[in-house]
Symmetry: C2
Subunit: 437 residues, 2 copies
C-alpha cells in the first residue's frame, strides 16, 4: 500500500447555522482546506462526501456531494456519496485513503457536511432515528431491557421510550449502557460530570467549537436531566457544520512548495457484532484499535492526543479502556485523575469533543482529523498538546445491536518524524490492550 498524507484541513465553526445552507457550509470547509494545503480545485482528482440528513430535511439525497461540490465549481472528478450515521465523515476519509493508497488517485478530498439543528427539535430527533435498523427499534430496546434485567438492573416503564420524541434516540441507549457500567465497575455520575466539565473547558479554548463556555462539575450535575444519569451538557448538542481534509500520495507531496503534511499511519473501519459485549476488550473499539495499532506499528503508549466519539460523555470512559489507555472498567477514575485533561498523561477530546465542539453527524469524523492535524502541526494555540507526535481518532455511528453499527479509527503522525525511532509494535492489543497502561 502507498503512503497517504493529509496536507490540508478546513472546517466551519460548529453551531446553529440557521441562515446557511449545506452548500455554503461545505464551501467554506473545502475552500479553507484547499487554502491550507496551498492547492487549487483543479488539483483534486476525487472526493468523498458524507452527509446523513439532507434528504430528510430538504429532499436532497442521491447526488449530495455532486450538487455541493458543483456549487463550488468542482466538476468532472469522481464523487462518492457516503453515509453512516454519526461516522459518515470517517467513512469518507477511509474511502479517500483507499483511493490514494491504491494508486488510483494522487490527491483527493474527504468532506462532511450536515445541518441537523431544527427549531422543531422533534424533527432533529426523528432524523437521528434513521441511524439504526428502523423496523427493529423496539426489539433492540427490548433486548437491552432483557440484558440489563439479567444483570439486576430494571428500567422503569416511564423511562422506556423507543420512539424518542423528546430526546435523541441514542441517549436512551447511552443511559442504559452507563447504568450497566455503574453497576459493573462502580462508575459514578460525578465521573461523567468530570469528563463533561473537562470537555467544556477544552471547547472554551477552541474557536471552532459550538460551546465555548466552561462548566463546573457542579453545574453539569445540576443541569436538566435527559435520562438518569445523563444531564443535558453530558450529551452532544444538535448543530450544523462542515469539515474537509485533503489527502495525497508521496509523489503529489513532492510537488508542493511548503507542505505541512501529517501521515496517515492507520485507517481501520468496521461494524458492530450482534452480541452483548460485557468486556471492553471485546468491544468494537478494542477490536478495531488492535487492527489500527498493528497497521500503524504503534501501541497505546505512543499516542499523544486522542479524539473520541463522546456523543454522550460516557463514551469517553468506555473508550479509555477499550483503546488501551487504562485498565478494564477504570475509565471513570482515569478521567477523575486528570490523565485525560489537556496537560495530562493522554489528553482526550482537546477540541471539546462532540459534547462541546459539537456533532453535525457527517462532519464529525472529518472534524476529528482536523483537530489531530492541527495538534500534530503544533498549531492548536491555547489547547495545544505539548510535543504531540502521534494522534488517534475514534468515530462511531448508529447502532443496530448493543454496540455501534459502524466505527472508524485513524492514527496520524506528524511529519517530519522526530529522529527518535518509534517504539516497537504492540502485538495482540485486541486481546490484551486493556492491560497496557
Amino acid at each position: 500500500m502507498r503512503n497517504v498524507y493529509i496536507i490540508g484541513v478546513g472546517m466551519t465553526r460548529f453551531a446553529k447555522h440557521l441562515d446557511r445552507s449545506i452548500k455554503d457550509l461545505a464551501g467554506e470547509a473545502v475552500t479553507d482546506a484547499l487554502k491550507d494545503a496551498d492547492i487549487g480545485k483543479k488539483d483534486l482528482e476525487g472526493a468523498w462526501f458524507a452527509n446523513s440528513t439532507w434528504g430528510f430535511f430538504e429532499g436532497q439525497d442521491q447526488v449530495r456531494g455532486h450538487t455541493a461540490l458543483a456549487s463550488m465549481g468542482i466538476h468532472e472528478i469522481p464523487v462518492t456519496n457516503v453515509e453512516s450515521a454519526c461516522s459518515g465523515g470517517s467513512q469518507a476519509v477511509h474511502g479517500a485513503w483507499l483511493g490514494v493508497a491504491s494508486g488510483a488517485y494522487e490527491c483527493v478530498m474527504a468532506v462532511g457536511a450536515e445541518k441537523l439543528y431544527n427549531e422543531d427539535k422533534t424533527r432533529s430527533f426523528k432524523a437521528l432515528a434513521a441511524g439504526t435498523d428502523v423496523e427493529n427499534i423496539r426489539p433492540m430496546h427490548e433486548a437491552w431491557f432483557q440484558r440489563l434485567r439479567e444483570a439486576g438492573i430494571e428500567i422503569p416503564l416511564d423511562e422506556r421510550d423507543e420512539n424518542n420524541s423528546a430526546r435523541g434516540p441514542m441517549m436512551d441507549i447511552y443511559a442504559y449502557m452507563v447504568r450497566w457500567h455503574m453497576k459493573t465497575y462502580g462508575t459514578t455520575q460525578r465521573q461523567l460530570a468530570v469528563v463533561t466539565s473537562k470537555n467544556h473547558w477544552h471547547g472554551s479554548l477552541n474557536p471552532k467549537a459550538q460551546f465555548q463556555k466552561e462548566m463546573s462539575v457542579e453545574e453539569v450535575l445540576a443541569a436538566r436531566p435527559v435520562l438518569y444519569p445523563l444531564t443535558v451538557p453530558m450529551c452532544a448538542p444538535l448543530g450544523d457544520g462542515a469539515a474537509a481534509a485533503v489527502l495525497c500520495s508521496d509523489s503529489f507531496l513532492k510537488r508542493l512548495k511548503s507542505p505541512r503534511p501529517v501521515k496517515v499511519l492507520a485507517s481501520a473501519y468496521g461494524s458492530g457484532a450482534p452480541g452483548f459485549i460485557d468486556k471492553s476488550d471485546k468491544y468494537i473499539a478494542a477490536r478495531l484499535s488492535g487492527k489500527a495499532y498493528n497497521m500503524a506499528g504503534v501501541g497505546p503508549e505512543d499516542i499523544d492526543v486522542v479524539e473520541v466519539h463522546d456523543a454522550a460523555c460516557f463514551a469517553e470512559i468506555k473508550l479509555s479502556d477499550a483503546l488501551g489507555f487504562c485498565k478494564l472498567g477504570e475509565g471513570g477514575p482515569f478521567a477523575e485523575s486528570g490523565a485525560t485533561t489537556l496537560g495530562g498523561k493522554i489528553p482526550i477530546n482537546v477540541s471539546g469533543g462532540l459534547i462541546s465542539r459539537g456533532h453535525p453527524l457527517g462532519a464529525t469524523g472529518v472534524a476529528q482529523l482536523h483537530e489531530l492535524v492541527t495538534q500534530l502541526r503544533g498549531e492548536a494555540g491555547k489547547r495545544q498538546v505539548e510535543g504531540a507526535r502521534i494522534g488517534m481518532a475514534e468515530n462511531g455511528g448508529g447502532t443496530i445491536y448493543f454496540e455501534e453499527a459502524s466505527m472508524a479509527i485513524h492514527i496520524l503522525e506528524r511529519m517530519p518524524r522526530r529522529s527518535s525511532a518509534r517504539k516497537p509494535k504492540v502485538l495482540g492489543h485486541s486481546s490484551t490492550g486493556n492491560e497496557t497502561c
Copy 2:
C-alpha cells in the same frame, strides 16, 4: 495497483416485488453471489452497499448496508453505504475495487438493492427527483430550453413540466436531448424504436429481466407517448431488485478450489462537466471511456460485449459513438444496421438493458457487471455472445447540468486469457475515439 477479480455474482429477477423487502432482495443476491464464488460469509472482509430510495420510502437511511447485511448474519466487517442516483451500484463496485486494489482487503462485496416501484407512481417519480440538484431543477430546465432555442428547437409550453408529477423527471431531459440529436444528426424516432425492440428481444432471452416479451418496432412506435419522441417502452420501467458481486485479490484467488474469475481491467468513475456538450467525443462517456481504455490497455475494437445505461433507449445511440463503437452522430444508423444486436458486430445490452431487464437504481450498476461476468464465462445461454473475451459496462446517474451527474465505466476480461496477445493500447481515445470504428 493490485489485480482485482470478480469471482462471484448474484441477482434477483428485476420485477415489481411488492411482497418483498430490501433486506430480502439483497439477501437473495448476496447468497447467490457467495454461492457462485463458492465462499462463505466469513470470507468477506468488507462491503459497499448502494441504495437510493430506502430512506424516502421507509425512513431507512444512514446505516442501510449495515441493517441489510446484519439481517443476513454478516457483521463486524466495514460496510460503506453509497448512493449516486442511478449509478450507485457502480460507485459500490468502484469502492470495492479500490479496497482490493489498495491491498487493504483481500475479498469484498459490492451490493446494490432498491425498491422503486410504488402503486402510487407519483411517489416513485418524486423519489427519482432527488437524482438532481433539487433546488435548481427549474433553472436546469430553463438552461435546456435556452440551449435548444439557440439550436432552433422550441419546447412548447405544454411540454415543460419540471415538476414531473406524471412521468420520470429524467425522461423530459432525455426527450430534449433526442430532439437536439435528431436535428443535429438526423437521428429518427424509428431508430429509437429499433434499439427498443432489440433490447426487448434481448430481455426475452434473460430469465432475470423484468420484461421477457418481444416487441416489434411498430409496437414500440404505436405505444403510449411519454414525451415526443419517446414512447413508454423506450423508457426504463419502475421496478425492484438487488445484485451483488464478490471481488478479490490474486492471493485470495489462489485459495479457491475451482474459481471462475473475471479480471477487472479498468474501473473509471467521474462526474459531469457544467457546459452543454455538442460533440460526443467531449461527453463524459468519451472522457471516461478514454481513461478506462488506457487503464485496460485495450481499445473499442477489443470490446466484445457492452452494457450501457439506456434509462431511455436514446442513451444507447448517444453512447455508441461516445464509447468509440461508431462515428460521431451515427449511433442511430449503427443500431439500425444490426451491429448492436446479439450476433452483430458489437452487441449492446444483451441483458435487455435498463428498458427491458429493468432499472432498480442502486442495483443497476452491479447487475450490468453480473451480465458481463455471465457472458465472459460463457454462461449466458440463449443470449450468449459467442467467444466474448472483453466486456464493458457504462452506468450513469443523475443530472445537474446537461450531462450525467456521475458515471462509471468498467472493463472486464475473461480468465484464463486466450493465448493470443491483446491488441496494442489505443491512445488518445478521448479525443479521437469516435473515428476508431
